[in-house]
């Protein structure tokens, strides 16, 4: 079986033979083939099985509308399910397998469902599988799921990469058929920036599949000439293998370029590129899609769309059958017969459903007018058809034309509804189009070639005028308008057996009638109940017939019946392409602290903190687990001195004559009188009165402050400050700029912090407690002249400083601090030790400032100034945020000191049952305190401040543990704060 159906001619390259396999069978085709044309050339008619009944299926179409010929392409991790053979370009070494069968494609065990079809009518599953109840999940559903789906994912990571990109143009032309080409030529010659995109690998659209002449040239040749001129112009970008799949707001389009899908290997380059195209105007020239006619057993392999048959014969040099019959309700079908005859393929008969039509001379081919096909035969491929009068015609291919639907999909993506046009018996784009879009050619319902060219040229001229460009119209080639008339004929009513409307989902005419009978009478109900149009082809060949049959049931017109609208994407888009590069480690960028390299070299384990990577702890030889390291870091810091990179805290430079007044608005506490050279803790609320963020703000000058925010909220706080500055108090002179990345900042904490810093900070700066007390700040220099900022602030509760140097010195600074601290046994500490020390000190952090707690809850009520307004103050005073039994942040210590407290536990009053009604609050943060020698916790509990000393149940059913803990002050360590002031 070596290309026994190959005939002469076509746009394939016979000098480039290509080998491929289908279900392991070796076959041959040529460059320029699709997988479908190559399969047909090799006589492979059976290519798949339908979704529900597992009926044998072949190739219906020659384009993206294909419902039947879906295959798994490639092997291993690259296996790609549900690929339409009709658009898959052949490459040497291609491997494809068929889908949705148990056993072989030829002998599918699941085909038994076809016998049960009477019991599997539309929506049958809504009415059964309910008894006994337990059987649904144990038996029925697993059974249904086992038969679900079509193709199979490899379950392995997609081995290919994807990329994205941005393109801009004056005019995006979607579709490079005759209309698109003439439009592109017109716009390009006028100097507009044009993008011409087509899903095919060859420009020309239907011209490649038809025998039309333009200027006495073959259509395909004319297209090549136009393409060559466009190619030579720098203001045109031609994108083949590119599907414009979605029309989004304001002229933005999504397009998928298949860069290497036609190659055996992607060669390390992105397989596909997802382009976002920004267009000033767009012109949809997407052509039209042919629709079949429903009749009994109209789903056999060998029954194809008539236009597709022309494509295979004219473009691919393949005869889909040796004895072809044509069945049509319109003039267009006639051309199928004449094209076949011209190529020497036998046409058994031309059957036109219309009475009294007279096709042109078909060299003696039998013409049957008023014909009806009422049945077909052939188990795995069509062998014969039966007419209403009982006559049987032996045929191996039936070319069916039920008329054409303009491809209006993109016009609907912004909820535009196409309107029914009774003249051409099809839906055409309505006046409500996506911003900037126009439609031309067959997509606009203009089916004649000459008229389409004329129309496309005119609409392009209009677009250019709109854009303020003078149009240099291209001379229109001489062409004819082909005969187009037809009648509304959707299905053969005389059919007694199942007649398919949606081939993939196995929705038949009867199913549609049953849906109507059961009350599912709106188009959307029909679709959802019967699954019509819900398959991978999204009803490209079935929706209109389904709608027409529904209209028939109700006695309404199609126009009254309505239509479902199309949604993006036009054809399916791989999830990998939509994600682009953002996967694996590249899912989001990394932010690294200035001392990252030092930390890497010194045993750090890192932890994700938003996009930052922070050192979590620094393990030393001999330590058995992270707790050993963390305990040591805490102990050594508290005993002598520890150093931690705290660069990730947000830093916002605030300047302006009104900077202090601005801070008074945004912080709950007062900042107007903060002296220069001092730092103050500040609490921020959201306008709804909930605590939002906290940090310290230093006054470096009369009009100059540096605010710090929490790591998590740095960006959000900045955004809110800008809002306050621009929208709430627009006449304050205040200016904000982030300096988070500009300064490497280190906490130096512990009794020896001052001694260490004295070795680093340049003389004559006086570090003494008197000269530089707690909450002081200064601009200093270090290591012989490097500028630095010094803050005497403490998160750990120790004598502590934070010192900042320009970020490029950060790694070196860490090294210097450690060297200077060597004599004190200085230790680097990570976020875990930082967390332990802050819990020991009772400071609230992210787990406490979780967006649900008020200043009152946090025990920070005193920071809300009664003397001034601030963001959030009024709403924080709402009654139920201030009830007597409001939760309060307190400390917890286990009654049995060997018990570990766990974050996320809930508190229950002793003696009460552990239920939600009795829930008293939750444990927000816990740590093992090496300082105290037992577990400690911070948590919110109702009336906590009045319950000191009470023992409560700390329940954790999710972990299966419960302990008792005593409510204590949250300030476990140095509650008077003498150390940090020392």
């Amino acid at each position: 079986m070596s290309q026994s159906f190959r005939i002469s001619g076509g746009l394939i390259d016979r000098s480039s033979p290509m080998h491929f396999t289908f279900n392991g069978k070796r076959m041959e085709g040529y460059a320029g083939d699709t997988l479908a044309s190559a399969l047909l050339a090799n006589g492979q008619k059976l290519v798949g099985r339908s979704f529900k009944y597992h009926r044998p299926r072949g190739i219906l179409s020659a384009g993206p509308e294909e419902p039947n010929a879906l295959v798994q392409l490639r092997t291993g991790a690259a296996q790609e399910p549900n690929t339409r053979a009709t658009v898959a370009e052949l490459f040497d070494g291609l491997s494809a397998t068929s889908q949705n069968h148990r056993g072989s494609l030829e002998f599918d065990l699941m085909a038994i469902t076809d016998l049960a079809a009477p019991f599997l009518s539309a929506g049958f599953y809504y009415k059964t599988f309910m008894w006994p109840k337990a059987f649904w999940e144990k038996l029925y559903e697993p059974m249904i799921r086992a038969s679900a789906g079509l193709g199979t994912l490899s379950m392995k990571e997609d081995p290919d990469t994807y990329d994205k990109g941005f393109l801009h143009c004056d005019l995006l032309i979607i579709g490079a058929g005759p209309s698109g080409l003439i439009a592109a030529l017109t716009a390009a010659r006028s100097g507009a920036r044009v993008i011409l995109a087509d899903e095919d690998f060859r420009l020309g659209g239907r011209l490649n599949s038809e025998t039309f002449a333009l200027d006495d040239m073959e259509g395909g040749i004319w297209a090549e000439q136009v393409a060559a001129e466009l190619q030579s112009l720098s203001n045109v970008r031609i994108m083949t293998r590119t599907t414009v799949y979605g029309a989004y707001d304001h002229g933005v389009f999504g397009a998928l370029e298949r860069v290497t899908d036609h190659l055996k290997s992607s060669g390390g380059k992105p397989r596909q590129i997802l382009w976002r195209i920004y267009s000033k105007r767009s012109l949809l020239c997407a052509g039209a899609t042919e629709r079949p006619i429903a009749f009994s057993n109209n789903d056999r392999p060998g029954i194809m769309l008539a236009g597709a048959v022309r494509s295979y014969v004219n473009r691919f040099g393949v005869a889909p059958g040796k004895n072809v019959t044509v069945f049509t309700n319109n003039d267009d079908g006639w051309r199928t017969a004449s094209d076949l005859i011209a190529k020497g393929v036998t046409v058994r008969a031309l059957i036109d459903v219309r009475d009294g039509v007279s096709p042109p001379d078909l060299y003696g081919t039998e013409v049957i007018t008023g014909g009806r096909i009422i049945d077909t035969a052939g188990r795995k491929a069509l062998s014969s058809i039966t007419l209403k009068n009982g006559r049987k015609i032996t045929t191996d291919c039936l070319a069916v034309s039920g008329g054409w639907n303009p491809t209006v999909h993109l016009t609907c993506h912004q909820r535009g509804k196409p309107v029914w046009n009774e003249d051409i018996l099809a839906f055409v784009p309505s006046g409500v189009l996506p911003e900037g879009m126009r439609v031309a050619g067959a997509a606009n319902g203009v089916f004649g070639l000459s008229s389409a060219l004329q129309g496309a040229s005119e609409v392009t001229a209009g677009i250019l005028t709109d854009l303020g460009m003078s149009s240099k119209a291209a001379a229109l080639p001489v062409a004819e308008d082909e005969a187009q008339s037809g009648i509304a004929f959707w299905h053969v009513k005389e059919s007694k057996k199942r007649a398919w409307v949606d081939l993939q989902n196995d929705v038949t005419v009867k199913d549609i009638k049953l849906s109507y009978q059961e009350g599912f009478r709106s188009v959307e109900h029909l679709k959802r109940y019967s699954t019509l149009g819900m398959a991978t082809d999204q009803g490209k060949t079935s929706n209109i017939a389904g709608l027409a049959i529904l209209a028939e049931c109700s006695g309404k017109t199609i126009s009254e019946t309505g239509t479902t609208i199309f949604r993006p994407p036009y054809t399916p888009v791989p999830i990998g392409a939509l994600a682009g590069r953002a996967r694996g480690k590249d899912f989001r960028p990394y932010r690294l602290t200035p001392s990252h390299r030092w930390a890497e070299a010194n045993g750090a384990t890192f932890v994700e903190t938003g996009n930052w990577m922070r050192a979590q702890w620094f393990a030393r030889a001999g330590e058995k687990g992270w707790r050993d390291s963390v305990d040591r870091e805490v102990e050594m810091t508290r005993a002598s001195v520890g150093i931690c990179d705290v660069t990730t805290l947000g830093k916002i430079d605030i300047q302006g004559k009104d900077a202090a007044e601005f801070l008074n608005h945004v912080y709950t506490n007062a900042f107007l009188k903060l002296p220069v050279g001092k730092v103050r803790y500040g609490l921020m609320l959201r306008e709804d009165g909930i605590a939002y963020d906290d940090g310290t703000t230093a006054r470096l000058g009369e009009n100059h402050f540096v605010m710090t925010t929490t790591t998590a909220n740095a960006v959000l706080v900045f955004r809110r400050l800008e809002f306050a500055r621009q929208c709430l108090w627009p006449n304050l002179d205040v200016h904000l700029i982030s300096t988070t990345d500009g300064w490497a900042q280190f906490a130096v904490a512990g009794p020896n912090a001052r001694n260490l810093l004295a070795k680093v900070v340049d003389a004559p700066f006086d570090l003494s407690n008197e000269a530089f007390p707690f909450m002081a700040c200064a601009e200093v220099s270090v290591c012989g002249g490097t500028p630095a900022r010094l803050f005497r602030i403490s998160f750990s509760g120790e004598l502590a400083y934070e010192i900042a140097v320009p970020a490029k010195y950060g790694n070196s600074m860490m090294d210097v601090l450690m060297k200077a601290g060597a004599e004190f046994n200085a230790v680097p500490y990570g976020t875990e030790a930082l967390g332990v020390m802050r819990i020991e000190k009772g400071h609230a952090a992210g787990n406490e400032l979780n967006g649900q707690t008020t200043a009152l809850n946090l025990g920070l009520g005193g920071f809300v100034s009664s003397k001034k307004d601030c963001i959030g103050k009024t709403l924080s005073q709402r009654p139920e945020l201030n009830l007597p039994d409001a939760i309060r942040l307190v400390g917890f210590k286990p009654v049995n000191s060997s018990d570990a407290l766990l974050a996320g536990s809930h508190f229950i009053t002793k003696g009460d049952a552990a239920t939600m009604e009795n829930d008293q609050g939750w444990m927000s943060s816990v740590a093992y305190s090496p300082t105290l020698g037992h577990s400690i916790g911070l948590g919110f509990i109702k009336r906590g401040h009045e319950r000191m000393g009470e023992v409560v149940r700390v329940v954790n059913p999710a972990r299966g543990v419960e302990v008792e803990a005593e409510i204590v002050s949250p300030h476990f360590y140095d509650p008077e704060g003498g150390l940090q002031r020392g």
Partner: protein, 95 residues
Amino acid sequence: MIINHPLLGPRDAAEFVYLGDESLIERPDPNAPDAADRFYEYGYLRDNPAGEHKELWYHEQGDRSWLVVTRNTITHQITHVELARDVARAKGRDR
């Protein structure tokens, strides 16, 4: 979506962060006798129109300006874009 920034020209809305109704500019007077009610309405009640909506967008990946964008919530068509600071001043907000 594309927002035609009054200073920078058309920019992809992906550069912006959305906040909500323009009325968020009109923060009530905290000293008014009915401040509690006014803040409740300011903070919580919205016109939420189906149609023209004046709304706040922040050009976070751009010039950091807050904008008032007039956009139709049914069609997404944008008809007007202003700097929110100018709008705030025009509404009489000061310092």
